[in-house]
């Protein structure tokens, strides 16, 4: 690798590390594991040099990071069930949220933490498109390419994820009001 390419790759790391972390976190739901996945992702890119020919930098990076994270989770849980992206909603793996529970988050009035905990417990097939869509530079087509599913499926899952989140937040707010007036 030439000096210019080294500098270019360093810039890529500085530019996209946090994005890769978010993708890996969306799969692993653990900060340490996600960081390890990010390290592995950039090592892979550095060694094979595929980043030089990527047309869409973010989509390419997200695809690699997602693959690395999925492989890492499979290695951590060799016997555990893996979610199939084509499965029906509700059959996917339910991971435990590392954030405080919804009730505790509501009591603490930390709305973001509340939503984060709700995102964590979403089925993975709904959570991953939602996390990838949070970075505004990825559209439905790119998310579909990254996850290997049809674009229409991505849109459907995004709508469904938002609907689930809205319902759960509304239920919690209603319960909070009832508790307050009781």
């Amino acid at each position: 690798m030439t000096t210019d390419e080294e500098a270019e790759f360093t810039a890529l790391v500085e530019r996209q590390s946090r994005f890769a972390f978010r993708v890996a976190y969306g799969v692993l739901l653990n900060g340490h594991d996600a960081e390890d996945a990010v390290q592995e992702t950039f090592l892979k890119l550095y060694r094979n040099g595929g980043w030089r020919h990527a047309e869409n930098e973010r989509a390419f990076l997200a695809r690699v990071a997602w693959r690395v994270a999925v492989d890492r989770r499979r290695a951590m849980r060799p016997d555990g069930p893996l979610p199939d992206m084509e499965e029906a909603p509700g059959q996917a793996l339910q991971l435990v949220s590392p954030h405080p529970g919804p009730e505790q988050a509501l009591v603490a009035a930390n709305q973001h933490a509340l939503v984060h905990s709700m995102i964590d417990v979403l089925p993975e097939e709904l959570r991953l498109p939602l996390v990838l869509s949070a970075s505004n530079e990825l559209n439905s087509r790119e998310i579909a390419t990254i996850l290997g599913i049809p674009e229409g499926t991505v849109r459907t899952r995004l709508q469904r994820a938002r609907q689930v989140l809205r319902e759960r937040i509304a239920n919690l707010q209603t319960r909070k009001q009832e508790t307050h007036y009781a």
Binding site: R18, Y46, H116, I119
Partner: protein, 195 residues
């Protein structure tokens, strides 16, 4: 309707900070440190592997070449014991110019041709035939046998009448065989009083 908008805004703002380690987390620095360690490690690993593979890269082709030479057919290899006696002895003796017994040679030449006509030549025979020199005259002139020398002596040394008588006797051999007519007299009845 207004409540839904608020929920959407809340979800969007929460998503923007979801799983974001933040600029102060030092994630980029840690990734770059790991890469720097790999950059310094990679040339050493490559040199180590190159050092290990170099002897193999030299030794393996040599071993393959020696194996090929060992397995290739040897020209000076003797015929196996299972070969027929005629196949082993006929070819060299029939063509060799320094054959001791010309009668044996003449007797064995037809055998050699017959054997070649019916049986394919073995690789060893082919190799041996290739080693023998090619002669200008075919079939190769051979010295006269004892019978031929005796016949030549008879032809040149006996007197002319005897030679003609011999020729006539030989010409008679070609005539058809004549058998004299057989005449059997009829049997006469025996006289009375005789047994």
């Amino acid at each position: 309707m207004r409540e839904k908008d608020n929920l959407d805004l809340l979800i969007d703002s929460a998503l923007a900070t979801y799983a974001d380690p933040g600029p102060e987390s030092g994630l980029e620095d840690r990734v770059l440190v790991t890469l720097a360690a790999v950059r310094t490690e990679t040339p050493r690993v490559r040199a180590r592997w190159r050092g290990r593979w170099l002897p193999w890269a030299v030794a393996v082709p040599i071993a393959v070449g020696l194996l090929f030479l060992w397995l290739s057919p040897r020209r000076d290899k003797p015929l196996p014991a299972s070969e027929p006696q005629e196949a082993r002895s006929a070819a060299p003796r029939a063509i060799a110019p320094h054959a001791n017994s010309s009668s044996e040679v003449r007797r064995e030449v037809p055998h050699r041709h017959a054997a070649r006509a019916t049986q394919p030549a073995t690789p060893v025979q082919t190799a041996q035939a290739a080693l023998l020199p090619k002669l200008d005259v075919f079939p190769t002139p051979q010295p006269l046998t004892a019978e031929e020398r005796a016949l030549a002596a008879v032809v040149t040394q006996i007197p002319l009448p005897a030679r003609q008588a011999l020729i006539e006797a030989q010409s008679l051999d070609h005539l058809p065989v004549r058998i004299a007519e057989i005449q059997i007299p009829p049997l006469e009845p025996p006289a009375q009083g005789q047994p």
